[in-house]
């Protein structure tokens, strides 16, 4: 029954295919050859698909035939064995048989000619032991797919267990022209083949076992049939018609099962396993004989060989050796191909070795395989389409490949191309289609890899950013802890400094030991804190509310612990450095300034922190917690600033006593103080910004923020005051040296200018805010109720104060130094004059602004009375007065400037002064006139826009006109008197 079944395996068909000249008879004329041992065997470590094997031997090692010389390197890898006994001559890069023509690491074996086998251990109990053990054994025997790809057999067999196997197909089709190695193998080792198939069937347990063989191998078919019927085997033979590429795995599966391997999947996915006949024989040899895979059948053929034949060849045998064996005619050789003419690749050199997958060496003459004809245009004849076994549209793929439209090529299933070469074979225009497809495929793969890479890089970048953010947050938290501790430290130290007047020198080492310990504790605590903070951060990111609270508690506990530790440490360390410090009077300012530095750093840090919080506050204005924090920080800041000011006072004190170093110290102090002031001001600005934003969104916290602003401004004021104090002290401390003093004064002047500018900026801001409020349509009353106008006034007062201060300052140094360094004072005076001019300009700008505001109010249609009620007109008048004052001041200062320069012109002074007065008066009047004119203009405009108030406005116009007239007459008079005066002179 079975014998009858054996003959009738159904054969299906596949699309396309070609019938190239077979050229198989040449190599079947001679019996199987056994070439002699070459001088050396070159054994590449990567003969299979997957990771290269790892060599087990060293150069100089003696190995026996069949001994393992390299083991697998990972899952998808294989073993390698010594094909003969001998010595390892080298492990080095050699040219290998690969389409790339590149070199690879090879073990070079020098045979000793004895062919001494290592003890063979066949796996006789393969039917009893577990299948995994058998697979492992196969792996150790170095068995890989002999068909061409070289896929490790044990991996393929493992994969076959994915689905229940319906078909176990033995590929004996050998469809490529010229190659007869499998044909010869079947003829020579029929029984071994069948036994090998049976072993594999035991491992995979397929429903059907089919040997697929092309009908051009009648001898092999007959031999197989004889053996199978003799053994009454369940193995079927399916004789398929000769058609290239029926030996392709997918095509053979289609031929024998009628099923197609889904694109992108493996035969195992549809319950099919394919094994090459060579693999089956190798499995048999390994299991029943214990022989590892060390040799194979290879076809030597081509017109350049006089004795084409099949040989059983040891791996590593150089191709040149085999060519020699087959009576090779070098003159005839034009193309040396490893593999068949359809899918083989050309070899650069005959020095490359035979490897496990080398099934054919084709030494072709020029006549046999002529150089390809020149490529012509594709006429889309469709012959390629008729030949394609994958049912692709090769002509379309060519079009897309040529125009680099890779997306379209992919859409036309470029990656289902098996590169069999049928299309190129039939192309009447000699287009190397497969080359185009290979190029497109590799371009697409490259692009994909680049995509993956860029994705990875993006991920890495994002991870890094997240990490950095987390680190920054951590640092912030640390800073907070440190600042708390150090602010305590600073106060402690100050106390400690005077108390510990004379500590013994012996105490120092003990304290350092203890401090070390403390430091370690702190470090540990900090690392714990870090961890907790990280967790907290994660929890916040993931929005685990309960965790956040819990962690927050832990974090604060940890921070407190660290703070207390640090306090202790601070006490320790403060004791240590103060001991030597008290010994010398000179050294004393150093630690104090250190303290000061620290305190200032703290101030800066708190400032930064405050900024951040304020930012947050702006983003989430309803967060009560944040607000609390902000206020806490502000108190901190104040405290820190207090310490700074105290410290700086103390430094001043110290500078008073110590005459030598004070100047440098003072200037340092000044610098620092200035920085502090700047920071405080920045904080003020921030708060103001926040306020603005809050106003914009009409947030309810405006008042709170305003308070903050006020506080911040106060702080800034305080700082400025403290800044002013040491300056006042400084000149007193060193009255002798005039030149450096002027420098200090110059510094002070500069600073003051900065202050002024800032104050003015503050005014501007206040005005802007008021403006904003107005734009928001707030009632004038509301605006008045808000503290902005008052603030504005304050700021303006301050400005005035500062300006006065500066003026007095400017005169003071000039008075002090007038005798000793007139040139310097002159410079300072010039500076002062410049500054004053700037002030004037600013004041004028202020006036303009006030006017604008009034104008705005009017535009908004407010009644005149309302406008009068608002403080703007008043302010305008004030500003004008101030301007006048400033101008007057300028004139006086100008005179004071002129005094040192023109010492002799004492009497001219009297003349100049009234002249200046007159000039300023004229100016003023001019301004008044201009203002009045502007007023009239405005009123006229209003008259146009609101005729119902016409009477009122007209009256006003008349009034202003009168004012204008009087101002003009005054102006005229003044100009007249001025000209008179000039004439008099």
């Amino acid at each position: 029954m079975q014998a009858a079944k054996l003959q009738t395996a159904q054969v299906f068909s596949f699309h396309g295919g070609i019938h190239p000249p077979e050229n198989k008879t040449q190599s079947l004329q001679l019996p199987l050859g056994k070439p002699s041992l070459p001088n050396e065997l070159i054994l590449p470590l990567g003969q299979h698909i997957g990771q290269s094997s790892r060599p087990l031997v060293k150069v100089g090692d003696k190995v026996l035939k069949g001994e393992t010389i390299a083991i697998n390197n990972g899952f998808l890898s294989s073993f390698l064995h010594a094909p003969t006994s001998g010595t390892i001559a080298a492990i080095e890069e050699r040219l290998i048989a690969h389409p790339s023509g590149l070199s690879d690491l090879c073990i070079i074996l020098a045979p000793d000619g004895n062919e001494t086998w290592t003890p063979l251990e066949p796996l006789d109990n393969w039917q009893d032991i577990s299948k995994t053990d058998v697979l492992a054994y196969l792996s150790e025997m170095g068995i890989i797919g002999m068909g061409g790809a070289g896929f490790p057999t044990q991996v393929k067999l493992q994969g076959a267990h994915k689905n229940p196997l319906t078909h176990f197909i033995i590929n004996a089709a050998e469809c490529e022209p010229y190659i007869t190695a499998d044909d010869m193998l079947i003829r020579e080792k029929t029984l071994e083949l069948v036994l090998g198939i049976e072993i594999l069937q035991h491992l995979v347990e397929a429903d059907n076992i089919v040997i697929g063989i092309e009908d051009n191998k009648p001898t092999a078919i007959a031999a197989l049939k004889a053996i199978l019927s003799e053994r009454n085997s369940q193995i079927q033979i399916a004789v398929v018609p000769t058609k290239y590429p029926s030996g392709g795995e997918k095509q053979l599966i289609q031929l024998l099962t009628g099923k197609e391997v889904p694109s992108g999947q493996y035969p195992a996915d549809i319950g099919v396993l394919c094994q090459n006949v060579g693999t089956c024989v190798a499995v048999h040899d390994a299991i029943t004989l214990g022989k590892p895979l060390i040799s194979r059948f290879t076809t030597l053929t081509g017109d350049a060989l006089k004795a084409p034949q099949n040989v059983e060849v040891l791996f590593g045998t150089p191709v040149a050796h085999l060519l020699e064996y087959a009576d090779f005619e070098p003159k005839k050789l034009s193309r040396l191909i490893m593999g068949g003419p359809m899918m083989g690749y050309t070899l650069d050199s005959a020095a490359v070795p035979i490897v496990k997958t080398s099934n054919c060496i084709l030494a072709a003459s020029k006549k046999e395989l002529p150089a390809p004809a020149p490529e012509q245009a594709c006429i889309r004849c469709g012959m390629c389409e008729q030949a394609c076994p994958a049912s692709l549209l090769p002509q379309q793929l060519l079009w897309f490949s040529k125009s680099q439209e890779f997306e379209k090529a992919e859409h036309h299933n470029l990656f289902d191309c098996i590169e069999c070469g049928a299309c190129s074979y039939v192309c009447p225009s000699s287009i190397p289609l497969v080359q185009y497809y290979r190029h497109s495929k590799s371009s697409i793969r490259e692009a994909r890899e680049a995509n993956v890479k860029s994705d990875l890089a993006k991920q890495r970048f994002e991870a890094r950013k997240a990490r950095q953010d987390a680190e920054a947050a951590e640092k912030e938290a640390k800073r907070l802890a440190r600042q708390k501790a150090s602010s305590n430290k600073a106060t402690d130290k100050k106390k400690a400094a005077p108390e510990k007047a004379a500590p013994t020198a012996a105490a120092a080492p003990a304290t350092t030991d203890e401090s070390k310990k403390l430091k370690v504790d702190i470090a540990i605590g900090k690392s714990k804190l870090k961890k907790l903070q990280k967790q907290l951060l994660e929890a916040q990111e993931n929005e685990h509310v309960e965790e956040i609270n819990n962690l927050q508690l832990q974090v604060t506990d940890q921070e407190k612990a660290i703070a207390s530790l640090e306090e202790q440490l601070a006490q320790m360390t403060s004791a240590a450095p103060d001991a030597p410090a008290t010994n010398t009077a000179k050294a004393s300012p150093a630690p104090v300034s250190d303290e000061l530095k620290k305190a200032k750093v703290d101030v800066a840090l708190i400032g930064v922190k405050l900024k951040k919080l304020q930012k947050q506050l702006v983003e989430t204005p309803d967060d009560q917690e944040l607000k609390d924090k902000v206020s806490a920080f502000e108190t901190d800041l104040k405290a820190a600033q207090d310490t700074v000011s105290k410290l700086s006072e103390s430094t001043q004190a110290s500078t008073n006593t110590a005459a030598a170093e004070p100047k440098a110290a003072i200037s340092d102090e000044l610098k620092k103080l200035k920085i502090d002031a700047a920071i405080a001001k920045a904080a003020v600005k921030k708060v103001e910004k926040a306020l603005k934003k809050a106003e914009e969104i009409n947030a309810p916290e405006i008042e709170a923020i305003r308070q903050q602003l006020q506080e911040a401004q106060q702080r800034a004021d305080e700082l400025e005051k403290t800044l002013a104090n040491p300056e006042a002290a400084a000149p007193k401390a060193a009255p002798v040296k005039a030149e450096p003093e002027t420098n200090v004064d110059a510094d002070a002047a500069k600073k003051r200018k900065i202050d002024l500018a800032i104050a003015k900026a503050g005014i501007k801001k206040a005005e802007k805010n008021i403006q904003l409020l107005k734009e928001q349509g707030k009632d004038e009353a509301e605006i008045n109720a808000s503290e902005w106008p008052s603030k504005l006034k304050e700021a303006q007062d301050k400005l005035a104060g500062l300006e006065k201060e500066q003026a007095s300052e400017a005169t003071a140094p000039s008075v002090a130094t007038v005798t000793s360094a007139p040139i310097a004072t002159a410079n300072i005076d010039a500076d002062a004059a410049k500054k004053r001019k700037i002030d004037l300009a600013i004041a004028k700008a202020g006036i303009k602004k006030a006017e604008k505001n009034i104008q705005l109010l009017k535009d908004q249609g407010k009644d005149e009375s309302e406008i009068e009620a608002s403080e703007w007109p008043k302010k305008l008048i004030e500003a004008q007065q101030k301007l006048a004052a400033l101008e007057a001041e300028e004139s006086t200062s100008a005179t004071s400037v002129s005094t040192p320069v023109e010492k002799t012109a004492a009497n001219s002074e009297a003349k100049v002064e009234p002249e200046m007065d007159l000039a300023t008066q004229i100016k003023k009047e001019k301004i008044a006139v201009a203002l009045a004119k502007a007023q009239i203009n405005k009123l006229n405009k209003r008259l146009e826009s609101s005729p119902e108030e016409a009477d009122n406005i007209k009256q006003e116009i008349v009034a202003t006109e009168q004012r204008l007239q009087s101002a003009e007459t005054l102006l005229e008079k003044l100009i007249h008197s001025q000209t008179n005066m000039q004439e008099n002179r």
């Binding site: 699309h15 034009s334 050199s349 004849c381 469709g382 549209l393 289902d416």
Partner: protein
């Protein structure tokens, strides 16, 4: 050892080059040419000579202008094939300048200006034919009649043909006759039966002459299919569609329409099906696509013949389907091995 290094495959089907393909198509027209010459005199051969010379000259000239290898491209026989197809398609006594215009336009404009062989979206021969058909309708409608039907009672001699083509033949009117399609087109109000019994062009000898011509081209076309130069899809679809159209309309309205057999054996039905519609460059690529393409031409031929302004519609049918060939191609991709169904359209970015 200077070894050749190229990638696989290393072998090619011997002999079957593009030039061979073109030569085979030219050879396959020989039965038709012989029958046409036998029926209508030397004019066809003279036309062929003029067309071939014009084609080679214009191809050489335009290749030279385009700085291409003149010899290499002339040897692909594609220009000659265009000339031959045009030469047999034009009426036998058409003035020489009509032939020259048609061929030169086909080679220069319809083929080379698009980039030469393989890049022309339209069938060059049919572009040339359509141009002269539209431009010079009078000489283009001047077909000769069979010997037994015309007043002269004989076919034109060689010299007469030359004279007719290059100069002017006063007696030409006694040799010309309407083609059956022309005759049927202008049957006016006659019903089919009356037309077939009264109109000269629809009498037996005239119909038979065109039957012979079509049979000759059918033989040539079958030879091409046997040589696997063309596939059966396009001609079968074309003729099938024409048959179905003619059959259906004849069934519904036998008094006003001609039989399917008449439709298939007159005019350029066979010539168009096997030699024009199968031009690979401008037609569809996949087998399914070719079926649609061929059927489209068949339907258009029937429509133009029945309701259009011209007696025959092969040229316009082919040109119209040339337009839609790329679209058809996008929607008729074959199902690739390992895929459940064929992809259609050009949705880029879907699964592969």
């Amino acid at each position: 050892m200077a070894l050749l290094r190229i990638t696989s495959p290393h072998t090619q089907r011997a002999g079957r080059r593009t030039s061979w393909v073109m030569q085979m198509v030219i050879l396959a027209t020989i039965p038709g040419i012989v029958v046409q010459t036998w029926l209508f005199g030397w004019g066809t051969l003279i036309n062929l000579m003029i067309a071939c010379i014009t084609a080679l000259l214009s191809e050489a000239a335009i290749l030279a202008v385009r700085r291409r290898a003149v010899g290499f491209f002339l040897k692909d026989y594609s220009a000659l094939l265009t000339a031959v197809l045009l030469g047999v398609a034009l009426p036998p006594v058409v003035p020489w300048w009509v032939t020259v215009t048609a061929v030169a336009f086909a080679i220069i404009f319809a083929k080379q200006l698009y980039g030469g062989l393989g890049n022309n979206p339209f069938n060059p021969a049919m572009v040339g034919y359509a141009i002269v058909l539209v431009s010079f309708p009078v000489p283009m409608s001047q077909w000769l009649g069979v010997q037994s039907m015309i007043p002269a009672g004989e076919t034109l001699s060689f010299m007469q043909s030359l004279q007719a083509i290059f100069h002017h033949l006063p007696v030409i009117d006694s040799y010309t006759m309407a083609t059956p399609l022309d005759g049927f087109k202008h049957k006016d109000l006659l019903d089919s039966q009356a037309a077939f019994s009264s109109i000269a062009a629809l009498q037996g000898p005239s119909l038979n002459s065109w039957l012979w011509v079509n049979a000759a081209y059918l033989v040539g076309g079958l030879g091409l299919i046997w040589l696997r130069i063309i596939t059966w899809h396009t001609p079968a679809a074309l003729l099938g569609a024409l048959l179905v159209m003619a059959g259906v309309f004849h069934l519904f309205d036998p008094s006003n329409t001609a039989t399917p057999f008449f439709q298939l054996t007159t005019g350029a039905a066979m010539f168009g099906a096997f030699f024009i519609a199968t031009d690979p460059v401008s037609s569809c690529t996949s087998n399914r696509g070719r079926l649609i393409y061929g059927a489209g031409i068949g339907i258009l031929i029937y429509i133009i013949r029945s309701w259009g302004g011209y007696p025959d519609g092969v040229a316009f049918g082919v040109l119209l389907m040339n337009f839609s060939a790329p679209l058809i191609d996008y929607y008729t991709q074959p199902r690739t091995y390992g895929h459940k169904k064929a992809k259609t359209g050009l949705k880029v970015g879907e699964d592969n």
